[in-house]
Every structure is written in C-alpha cells, then in structure tokens.
C-alpha cells in the first residue's frame, strides 16, 4: 500500500490512526534495537499528532480532505530541526539541544498531516558516505540486507528505515555531496535530491550551505514524489531558496518517457566499478531503451576528474565556519568552566567532536587561510563554475544522464575500517558532480546482486525533478 492509498483509509476511519501510530512506534523501537536507524524516536510528538488527526476526523474537519500526507509516518534526518525534539546532526556537541522551531520542511510535513516519528541516524554533521563517522557515543546504522554492511551515508538511518519499515513511511533526507543517493542505493530505495534551492534549508543544521539540499526517500517513486511535492517551493526564511513555479510531480508518474533522450556518462563506466554494479545498471539502461528512450554515450570529463577535489575544498571551507558556533555556550554540550574562553572552547570541541569532524574543520580552515585561499578555496569555486557549464551543455541535448549511484556494493564495516580517508571519499565519486552543480538526481533501485541492492543514478537539469521521477516511475514499485 503506498502512502496516498493509506491516507484515504485514515480519512475514512478504516484505519484508526492512534492505534496505528502506537504500532509504528513499537516497530521502530524493535527495528532500532537491531539496526540503529534512529538517534531519537519522537513517540510523544507522534502520538500527540495522531490524536489531533483522529479528533479532526471525528469532528469532520474539512481541512482533512486536502492533507497530502494524512497519517503518514515521516522520519527526519537528525540534522533537520524538529521543535522540542532533540536534534543533534549526529554529534555529541549538540547533545540535549531541542530546537525552538521547526525546519520549514518539517512545518510543511506537519501542515499536510504527516506524523513525525523520529530523528534518523547519520554521519556526524553529514561527514561521510557510509554512516560510520557517527558522533562520539552514537551508533552506526546497519544495512537492512546484511547487518555486517553499511547502509551508506550520510542519510544512512533514513535509507535503512525506508527499506525496513513495513508501514507507510517516507523519509526526509539531506545531501551535501551524495548523502541521499548513496544510502538509497545501498538500501534499495528511491532517493531524490532536488535542485539546490528548490527545497528550503531553513532549520537544516548546516554542513556546506552552498551544497546542502533536503530531499525525499521512499520505497516507491510515488511516495518519493509525494513528499517532494509537499516540501518543494519558495521560502522567505532561506535567502537561497528559489522563487520558481513548482511542478505537480505526481501527475508525471506512470506516463512513460518515450522520446526522452538519455546520456550515458562514459567516464562513469570506464574504471573502478564493481562488475556486479555495472551489469545491473546496464540492465537498467536496457529497460530505458525498451521503454522507447534514446540512449547515447556522452563524455563528461570534469565532474569525475575534479569533482571530489572541488567538493572537499568548498564543503570543508564552509563546514569549518559553520561548526565554529559549537563551543559550549548557549546550547548543546558544555564542560566545566575553567581557564580563559579559548581554553574552554578548545576543551568543549576536543571532547565532543568526532575525528572526521575535526579532520574536516582542519582541512577547511587551512583551505581558507590567507596565502592558501587563492590556491584552494577560490580555485575550487572557479572549477565548480566550469563543471556546471559542462553539465549545462550536456542538458542542451539530453533530458537526463545515467551512471551508477555508487561504484561498489555495500561494503562490510570491517573493509571500511581499512580504507584511507581518500579511498573513503572515492565512494562519492559519481555523486559529487550533480551535488556541486546543484542538479537534481534520483537513485533508482535496479535489482540485487549477491543479495545486495544496486542503484542507478538519474541526473537532470536544474528544476527538472519531474522528468527524473517520470523516468523513475518506469521502474515501478520495488516491493
């Protein structure tokens, strides 16, 4: 049952929403014991919301009719603020922080009757591709198909719970350099990262502000489109929010996508892919052709050659300024007040930030120091512009571009441990391109190899989320 069908049954009282949500919370707790998908389960808020909806139904409140997410369980990546619910972005330095306001996306979900069930686990502040870089004292989420393996990151908890939930549920994820598509690929679900600015970032705990995008993850393309439909649109509280008309994403689904032109990214198939991944993605491409789409190879040199370097310079530069505010004043973790402010701030940050967070703060601070700024931060910004130009040129000819989402099958935790930081970053090589260019991209599950899911990546031109979902809907429901 997809989300929209479920909402109908809630509306008609066929399903008692309060009873349902109690069961959902119970299931989440159970799943969480084995898989660590939640940092916080917001049972109080969820049950309160369920009661409100039940009362509205009882009172025949007319507003109920138009609510797009009525009674649907929605999980929220921990880096997205929910008023009154601990929101830490997976970091001990924000332990105990309960936001004073809802992120704009959370407000929109609640206005449409969506029920917030909890905050999903992630790499600390989004710093990773495997969800193993969780904050001090946090637990790593495990792959739903093999608990020895990663569910991808940084929206790992979101990907896992989308796959594991046997109740209607959609997840709010966030991507800076691939953090929606990577876990969607490893967990075998749809994950849509929209155009930069399409969805408001207000209330998102920042990683790299010029890269951060909130998106939706669902078991079906319908669910994924439905949540995007709710959260997309202009927001005056986010200065980078786009003031462009919003499409009706749902109306495009199941319409076929004949006559669309698809570009197969040459460089994404040249080297470094697991053969299992490549063969499944090729099957996906065959399916596009069967559906009448014209597929043609295209060379895109810059994103794969320079994408990771550009991404890490810009993302860490921005992150190192964003994380400066966490210093044990006003909110979050605190330590015994001793010494001068510098000593105190250092102590708080030393004790409460994880290794990867410290690494990225140091890299980012270095990249913006005078003397190095021009060589790193400024140069990265220039190459970023060139990458965007290369994509734009491709989209003059193609409706969407195709590559694997991640070149490898979900790796074992024991193998991840052996990776150097650079090898670790390589997992995102196919994803950083669309992310630094602010292009919408969709992970489409294309099947299983060795019992593990494989994802295909569709990348579209700015604001062409609708096209991607239309193509994705060819792949139907995965369950």
């Amino acid at each position: 049952m997809n989300a929209a069908e479920f909402s109908k049954k809630v509306r008609s009282s066929e399903i008692d929403i309060v009873e349902h949500i109690h069961k959902v919370i119970e299931k989440c707790r159970k799943i969480n014991n084995d898989f660590n998908y939640f940092n916080t389960i917001s049972d109080e808020l969820a049950i309160k919301q369920a009661h409100e909806i039940r009362n509205q139904i009882k009172n025949k409140d007319n507003n109920i009719q138009s609510k797009k997410l009525l009674g649907i369980a929605v999980s929220v990546k921990d880096s997205i603020c929910v008023q009154g619910v601990e929101s830490t972005a997976g970091s001990r330095i924000l332990k105990g922080y309960r936001p004073l306001f809802d992120a704009s996306v959370v407000r929109k979900v609640r206005e449409q009757g969506g029920i917030i069930i909890g905050k999903t686990s992630q790499d600390e502040f989004g710093f990773g591709g495997f969800s193993v870089n969780v904050g001090v004292g946090f637990k790593t989420p495990k792959n739903p198909f093999d608990p020895e393996r990663s569910c991808g990151g940084s929206s790992g908890g979101a990907g896992g719970i989308v796959q594991k939930a046997d109740f209607p549920h959609i997840a709010l994820g966030e991507s800076t350099g691939g953090s929606i598509a990577a876990p969607a690929s490893f967990c075998g679900v749809f994950g849509l990262c929209p155009t930069y600015g399409r969805v408001s970032r207000y209330g998102l705990i920042d990683f790299g502000n010029s890269l951060d995008k909130i998106g939706s993850m669902g078991k079906t393309v319908d669910d994924t489109a439905l949540l995007l439909d709710v959260i997309a649109g202009h927001d005056a509280l986010d200065s980078t929010s786009l003031n462009a008309p919003k499409e009706d994403y749902g109306s495009r689904l199941g319409k076929g996508a004949g006559r669309m032109k698809i570009g197969i990214i040459k460089e994404a198939f040249e080297e470094g892919n697991d053969p299992e991944v490549e063969s499944k993605v090729n099957e996906g491409i065959e399916k596009l052709k069967e559906n009448g789409m014209e597929c043609e190879e295209i060379s895109l040199k810059l994103p794969i050659r320079y994408g990771l370097s550009v991404y890490y310079m810009i993302a860490t530069s921005e992150a190192s300024t964003n994380l400066a505010k966490y210093c044990g004043m006003r909110y979050g973790a605190a330590e015994k007040l001793e010494g001068n402010f510098n000593e105190y701030f250092s102590k708080v940050r030393s004790h409460n930030l994880g290794d990867e967070a410290k690494r990225r703060i140091i890299i980012g601070t270095f990249a913006r120091m005078s003397g190095f700024r021009d060589a790193y931060y400024i140069k990265a910004a220039k190459v970023r512009t060139l990458i965007i130009q290369e994509y734009r040129k491709a989209f003059k000819k193609f409706d969407a571009l195709v590559s694997p989402s991640v070149p490898i099958l979900p790796p074992k935790f024991s193998d991840i441990e052996k990776l150097t930081p650079l090898q670790n970053y390589m997992a995102d090589i196919l994803l950083v391109g669309p992310n630094i260019a602010g292009l919408p991209h969709l992970n489409v599950p294309v099947g299983f190899e060795k019992g593990l899911p494989v994802g295909m990546l569709l990348t579209g031109d700015h604001l062409q989320e609708g096209k991607l979902l239309q193509i994705g809907s060819i792949f139907g429901e995965r369950k």
């Binding site: 603020c81 790299g208 502000n209 400066a324 006003r330 402010f341």
Partner: protein, 474 residues
C-alpha cells in the same frame, strides 16, 4: 622609506550604528526593552538551523551614505564570513563585507574644506555586548547580552591622511553631520566608534592601532595622548612597537593589547547563506532622487542665495534642524538678521541651557515673529534676547506676549527725550565727569535711561539724544 609628509599620520575606521527598526539579518527590534537578552531570536543567537535574511532598509541607508560620500557603489551585494572565536560572537564568525565592499573610495570634506580620501564603506553585523560585572581585569566571568547582536553597522575607512588629532575630531564631526542629514543615525542614542591607526615622523612612522574610541570628543583625547606618547618614546630613543592598543577613557590613557607580528588571519569566505545579488541601477537612481540636501550644499546655497558669510553659513548648516529653520526664517525676514540671531543668540541660549534644538519648543514661527519685531524696531535687541531665553524654558506666542507685557520699544522721540532730561538732571556728577572727558560716564547716563524704560529703548537712539542735550546745554 615612507611617503608620508605630515608630522602625524592618522587613518580611521569608523563604525556607525544605523538606526533601522530591525536588525541586519533578522526581524528583532534594534531598540526597546533594555532587559538583557530580550530582543533575540534563533538567528541573532546563532542557533543551529537558523539562516540570515538581509534587511533591505539597512542596505538603503548604507547606499545613501555611499552616495553622500561619493563612494563608488559596487554592482553586486556580497557578504563574507570573518572567522574568529570570541565570546561576544553568536556564530564565531561575523557577517561582514570583505572582497567587495558596498562603496569603494569617496571623500569627506573637513570644516576648512580639505578633502579626506576614503578607502571603503562597508556593512556588517554588530556582535553581542560583554558585561564584566566587576571590571575587565577583576571579573572572574563575563556575561553576554545578545540584544545588540546583529544590529546593523556601517564602517567607513579613511586613507591615512589625517594630520592631527584635531583633524580626526573634525572628520568625525563632519561625518556625524552627514549621517544626521541622511537621518540614518540616531545622534542621541546611536553608537559611533572608531579604531585609529596612528604614527609619527619621529619614530619613522611605526604604525600603532588604537581601538575602542567612542564618540568625536574622545577621539581627540585618545589621539592626543597617543601622539604625545609616541613622540616621547621616540624622543627617548626607544623603538616603537607595531602593536594594537586600547583607549581607556576613564584613565585617559592607551594601553598595549597585543603585538602585531603577523596580520590576523580571518579565513574569509563568501557567506553561502546569502545569495550574491545585483544592486540594480534603478535602486541607486531612486536613492539619488531621494537624497536630501547635505550640509555642504546648504553652505553653498546660504552664501549664494542669502549673501551671508562663510563662517555663519557653516555654523548654521552644521545641524540639520538649525539649517532648515534658518532657511524658513531667512525667507521671512532679512537673511543677515536671521543669520546673526540664529547663529549667535539662539545657539548661545541653547548652549547655556545645555539643550539641542529638537529638545526645545522653539519653532520657526517664534523666530520669524521675534525677528520681525526686531527688524521693524518694535522691540529692542535687549528685549528680544530676553524673550529668547524665556522661549527655551517653554514656548508661548511672541506677538501677544509682547503686547500683554507692554514690551514694545519706546520709540516716541518726545517720550525718550523726557526720560533723557530726567536722567541728566538726576546725575549731575556723571554729567560733570563726562564733560571732564570721561567717556564712560555717558554710558552710565544711557544705562539710567534704559532702566527707566525697562530696556525698551534703543541704546543707540538714547545715546544720540543725550549727546545732543549735553551739547546744546554747554
């Protein structure tokens, strides 16, 4: 080595608080409740997830200043993050302008007409205020009040071309005049602060930065102290340190904060939360059209149109309210008379009562009524001055008051002559002294007539009548 020619070289960085209703990046009020941490929100407290939204009004104010200072307005509005850790910073970075300031270049004229070149004009947010409950040195802890956090500031940076502490003071004064003409600064409650770079010839122009100087009176004190200190150090053959010092107003001294071995590294990046936006030519055109006449325009106009002296014109133009009053009064009575009375008498009584023009109820109607009576010789200067003093206390209608209190000048020649004859008769000794050649004694007799008329006679006229009578009776 150095291209400086003057004995003393001073450059200023002046920070001015703009008087917008709300803060630079959130909608918290800039004024109001003084209870600590009441005018705050997630944005100005730097809470996770909050995002800045630019206050367009503050940009408009800053654009007005750029226009007034002839500073070249950038085509793009760009904000940067200046990173450093400090307890008064809500985010441990300050949103400011770095790469591309709002205004580049420009100039401001000192009173004597010398133009002081500007480097740049840019906008930034104010940090929170730190409260040391028992003084900066003794307090074991510091309290932070975020009410000020995020208030809009504009920074004006001069080239190092001020040649004395007096010039620095005058620069600040001229700047405040411009700000108040533009109505973008609250002269009574707003904060204007300066950091100054100072060096002297004797040391080979070793640059010292003096921070934390508030207001234009302080700037002359602080810089005078610093110049004397530097000259004396150099005079004793000691090498001056390239350092940052702080001005302690209470003790009247500057003291060393830190050595400047290397420039601080603020790791600037362009703030990715604020989109770079174009400053359209239409916006700038609108600002230009809305610009009020500035003090320097007024001076020119006063000299040309009303034919008054440069000094009078400058003093009248130095305060917007006074300049506007002068224009109205000069349109109704003789401009020279208006200039004399506003510049001398009105400022004298205001100074004496320690009040500014907008704090008293004196309007241009009062001044026009008063000066018409003076011009038509219906009241004497003496009476007019007394009326002005009374007006500072509380306002009243001049014409009816003069009638009611019978203050009209005694101008009937026969009546005046009667008083003069009386005075001569009553003071034979003075008359005798005058005849012996003591000119002062004549003044005494005139004074007696003034007393009899309660000041309502014109002294010059009385003087003439007495002289005539004394000459006739010789």
């Amino acid at each position: 080595m150095s291209s400086f020619t003057s004995d003393i070289v001073i450059g200023l960085e002046v920070h001015v608080e703009l008087n917008t209703k709300t803060k630079l990046f959130c909608s918290c009020p800039t004024k109001g409740n003084e209870e600590p941490n009441t005018r705050v929100c997630p944005v100005c407290l730097g809470h996770p997830g909050s995002k800045p939204v630019l206050n367009r009004k503050a940009v408009e104010f800053a654009l007005k200043l750029c226009t007034a200072l002839n500073s070249k307005i950038s085509s793009e509005l760009v904000f940067s993050r200046k990173s450093y850790f400090y307890p008064d910073m809500s985010k441990n970075y300050q949103i400011t302008q770095y790469e591309i300031p709002l205004g580049a270049g420009g100039a401001l004229s000192l009173k004597e007409g010398r133009e002081i070149a500007l480097k740049r004009v840019h906008m930034e947010e104010d940090p929170a205020s730190l409260v040391h409950s028992s003084g900066m040195q003794e307090s074991g802890c510091v309290l932070v009040d975020y009410n000020r956090s995020g208030n809009p500031l504009i920074e004006i940076v001069t080239e190092p071309c001020l040649a004395s502490p007096e010039e620095a003071r005058d620069f600040m004064k001229q700047l405040i005049t411009v700000l108040s003409y533009l109505e973008i600064f609250d002269e009574n409650h707003g904060i204007i602060k300066a950091d100054a770079n100072v060096s002297v010839r004797e040391s080979g122009y070793v640059r010292v930065e003096v921070k934390n100087i508030t207001g234009f009176r302080e700037i002359e004190r602080a810089l005078s102290y610093e110049v004397v200190r530097q000259k004396s150090e150099a005079g004793h053959g000691r090498k001056l340190a390239h350092e940052t010092r702080s001005w302690d107003s209470a003790r009247g001294i500057t003291f060393a904060l830190r050595k400047k071995e290397a420039e601080e590294d603020y790791g600037y990046i362009i703030d990715p939360d604020l989109v770079i936006s174009e400053i359209g030519s239409e916006w700038i055109e609108n600002i230009r059209n809305e610009m009020p006449e500035l003090a320097q325009d007024k001076v020119r106009k006063f000299i040309e149109k009303y034919k008054i002296g440069r000094e009078d014109a400058q003093i009248l133009a130095s305060e917007k309210a006074l300049a506007e009053m002068f224009e109205k009064v000069a349109g109704a009575v003789d401009p020279e008379l208006a200039a004399k009375w506003l510049r001398r008498e009105l400022l004298r009584v205001l100074n004496y009562s320690r009040k500014s023009l907008d704090e008293v109820g004196i309007t241009e109607k009062h001044m026009i009524d008063l000066l018409r009576l003076v011009q038509e010789k219906k009241i004497t200067d003496n009476v007019a001055s007394r009326l002005l003093e009374k007006l500072v206390e509380n306002a009243f209608d001049i014409v009816s008051y003069v009638k009611k209190e019978a203050l009209e000048a005694v101008s009937d020649a026969d009546v005046l002559e009667k008083y003069c004859i009386e005075a001569i008769k009553e003071n034979p000794v003075a008359v005798e002294d005058y005849r012996k050649g003591e000119a002062k004694s004549l003044n005494f007799i005139v004074g007696q007539v003034m007393r009899k008329t309660k000041g309502k006679a014109a002294p010059k006229e009385v003087n003439e009548i007495i002289l005539r009578i004394l000459n006739e009776s010789q």
